[in-house]
Amino acid sequence: SAVISQKPSRDICQRGTSLTIQCQVDSQVTMMFWYRQQPGQSLTLIATANQGSEATYESGFVIDKFPISRPNLTFSTLTVSNMSPEDSSIYLCSVDPTGDRYEQYFGPGTRLTVT
C-alpha cells in the first residue's frame, strides 16, 4: 500500500493566478497520476508522471496549463496556471505502487475554488 499526502488541502484563488499542488508518497513509486474531479462529476485523468521522463498528458490537457514536476520517486507537483472559475475542482494525486495498475491509491485531494 501507499500513504499519500497533498498540500494544500484546499485553497481559494483569484482568477489569473497560479497554484502549485504538492503530492508526497511514503514509499518510492514509479507511476504517479494527477486527476481532476469537477463538482458533482467523476474523475478525469490529467496526466501520468513517471520519474525521469516528461509527463504524458491526456486529451484536453496541456503542459502550459498544467505543468507537472517529478523530481524523485516520492514527490510530484501539479501547477494550475492562469486559473479561471472553470478550474474549480478537486485535484487528486494517485500512485501505482507495483507498476502494474492492479491497484491505485489516492491522496485526500486538493479542493480548489477560483473566484
Partner: protein, 111 residues
C-alpha cells in the same frame, strides 16, 4: 476505449436494508474492474477489485461485487448497510494503461 456507466446517481436507503449499486461497462476485450469509495471530504479508497479467478469478490466491511461477463456488469451489493456507509461510490474499469471511472453513485443511509 472502454466506458463505464453507473446507472444510479443517488441511492437513498434506510439503515440495515440491503443495497445494490449498479455498474455496467463496455469493452470488447478483457478488463480489470474496481470499486472505489469516497467518504465526505476524503480521497478515494479502493473497496474491492476483480482481476481474474472467482467472479465474486468481497471487501472487509461486508460489500461484495460480482463480475458478470455476459452482461458486462460489476454490481456492488451489501446485505445490510450502516450509517457509516454513506459515501460516493465509483466503479472503474482498466484495460492496459487506460483506467476509466464511472460518474459515481451517492449512497445515503438514513436512520
Amino acid at each position: 476505449a472502454q466506458s463505464v456507466t453507473q446507472l444510479d446517481s443517488q441511492v437513498p436507503v434506510f439503515e440495515e436494508a440491503p443495497v445494490e449499486l449498479r455498474c455496467n461497462y463496455s469493452s470488447s476485450v478483457s478488463v480489470y474492474l474496481f470499486w472505489y469509495v469516497q467518504y465526505p471530504n476524503q480521497g478515494l479508497q479502493l473497496l474491492l477489485k476483480y482481476l481474474s479467478g472467482s467472479t465474486l469478490v468481497k471487501s472487509i466491511n461486508g460489500f461484495e461485487a460480482e463480475f458478470n461477463k455476459s452482461q458486462t456488469s460489476f454490481h456492488l451489493r451489501k446485505p445490510s448497510v450502516h450509517i457509516s456507509d454513506t459515501a460516493e461510490y465509483f466503479c472503474a474499469v482498466r484495460r492496459s494503461n487506460d483506467m476509466r471511472f464511472g460518474a459515481g453513485t451517492r449512497l445515503t443511509v438514513k436512520p
